[in-house]
Symmetry: C2
Subunit: 344 residues, 2 copies
């Protein structure tokens, strides 16, 4: 069986790091009985430019029929004020493929410690499980009049249940600790989250379950990030906290993410954006994209063996000092990618 | 004229730090031609216990008639699951007194640098201007059924305008830089904020005005906090970011805040909570309350001279090492308060 992979390179540094990710995929799968076919499609700003839509119909159909989706990065000043924005393509593909669970690892390993902007020296290793297709991102009504504007944060029981199970299942394979982050002292939706998550928690007696208000969580991520294992939260809080969490690693350019539904293809992408300021210079850090490829191999194709080869090669490369400027080195994207491939 | 001050000591460490703040107020005003009268009222959990309501009618009336309000801290496990919570008292007094502007300073002075959990070594000095009486905290409808729950984030033009003027007026007295934090790539309310704030910005040509998405702002507060002067934002984003900002100082126990309306009394309080874990031990850091008193003297009573005496005394005390355990010392609340008073 040949793995069908949709490739959405996107904008600015997107194509640069996607090229790196695909080279590593080619190298790691050579002679390993992993056959795949790539389907490159315009998306984001590139979708607008090439097909008049950030999520062109053909790109969506291709994605729907594939086994997994690799996305690099989208957006940028070129489409500021455009009638349709690149970001709308991202929201649309999440919704169309029902990618309700966004999974973002935050790790500070001893080797990466020096890049972290925080003084904390304990190892940090947690995962944010962010609900991705509901809440205030999609709630109706949303309305703008000449006098006011409004957005609606809305969650159904079922939407909360399914993401909660993702978080607890994940905790069972990790350190068995789930922290629900909400604002239950103010919001009705948060009170519903507390109620439903508490119910489901009883099905996982092995998992320690606690809660934190979102404002307190934003402090703990800086003050004591080692306390977290799995953070479960709604869409908007997850957006804010996962970026904050990424920042404490000090190496945004190294973090992959996965978005998945109940079935159908999952989507893998770096957590950072399209970095217009460094685009075209060939100096973007390829690690986030390379690790997105590794995440895909593990979760969509059950090839944790290949993923491990990739992450070992990335570690070896970082240790050897062949790193891009964001990590204090002077390697180009190509040089770093070649170094990773040499370590495979 | 005698200044009328409502005193809401609240819960757990609340009364301990309030006592410290009032001692410093007494000391600094002695012989300084500043006469005042205190009106102590139950509020928060204490309001529930003593009058069956977190904001008893008498407390509200007293607050309304006074010139300024000092609040220490409210809430705690004792009222978990109570039909009315201490926090509802806080939301109610904000709304009743129309305290739409919450002002929270974030400073890392060279002397406090060592307490900061971040490696950044540049001086940090910014202010968050948070809208406090609208947005998703108060928007209607809010609804919970057997199938779903919803909250409404709603802003009128006028609500955005008045808080925007507070932020720009403040910037004029500082480094003349306002950053609007929003999620205008997703939310209709944020798009309205962008539109209105941009209009008002044209009235302040001397002020540099820029914008940041809230997720990016949560990174910048860690990565480059020195870039900010005045951050202007809506209620929920302000809640999360101001706690994050407080955390990067590493000394939560030292930060005051002010909440004000267009007219009527302003309210001054520490940004931290009631710290049930250390209540009753006499070791709570009094600085946040003492600085709240100083902020009151400046903003409600035009006595910046007395406020400066207080903050100089606080600095001298910290430098002398007479500090509570949260700052690494072993002084009690009383000892630290006496040291502050001795320096006045
Ligand atoms: C681009 C934006 C709409 C998006 C979001 O808010 O979800 C991004 O910040 C993310 O986290 O993937
Ligand atoms: C206690 C809570 C309702 C309150 C808020 O969210 O506004 C608090 O976190 C604050 O920031 O003053």
């Amino acid at each position: 069986m040949t793995a069908q992979i949709t490739v959405l390179a996107g904008d600015y540094i997107g194509p640069e790091i996607m090229a790196a990710g695909l080279k590593v995929l080619a190298a790691v799968s050579e002679g390993q009985n992993f056959d795949y076919q790539l389907h490159e499609m315009p998306f984001g700003g590139a979708g607008i430019d090439q097909a008049g839509d950030p999520l062109p119909a053909e790109a969506l159909q291709t994605a729907q029929k594939s086994d997994a989706i690799l996305l690099a990065a989208i957006g940028g000043p070129k489409w500021d004020g455009a009638p349709k924005t690149p970001e709308q393509g991202l929201l649309a593909i999440r919704k169309a493929l029902n990618l309700f669970a966004n999974i973002r690892p935050t790790e500070i390993s001893p080797a990466m410690q020096k890049y972290s902007p925080i003084k904390n020296t304990e190892p940090v290793d947690f995962v944010i499980v962010r609900e991705l297709t509901s809440g205030i991102y999609f709630g109706q009504p949303r309305e703008t009049t000449s006098e006011y504007a409004l957005d609606t944060m809305r969650y159904t029981n079922q939407e909360i249940e399914r993401i909660t199970r993702v978080a607890f299942d994940m905790a069972m394979k990790r350190r068995k600790h789930v922290t629900l982050v909400d604002k239950a002292n103010v919001l009705d939706t948060s009170k519903l989250w507390r109620k439903i998550v508490a119910q489901i928690a009883t099905e996982y007696p092995a998992v320690t379950y606690d809660t934190s208000y979102v404002d307190a969580a934003s402090m703990k991520i800086i003050a004591s990030p080692s306390q977290f294992d799995v953070i479960l939260t709604e869409n908007l809080f997850g957006d804010i906290l996962s970026d904050e969490a990424a920042q404490i690693t000090g190496s945004l350019g190294t973090i992959p993410s996965m978005s998945r539904g109940s079935n159908g293809p999952s989507l893998y992408e770096p957590i950072h954006g399209s970095a217009p300021d460094i685009a075209g210079q060939g100096i973007a850090n390829p690690i986030s994209m390379v690790k997105s490829v590794a995440m895909m191999l593990t979760h969509s194709f059950d090839r944790a063996d290949l993923a491990k080869q990739i992450s070992d090669a990335v570690d070896a490369t970082v240790e050897s000092g062949v790193v891009t400027p964001d990590l204090g080195g002077n390697a180009t994207t190509d040089e770093m990618t070649s170094a990773i491939i040499n370590h495979i």
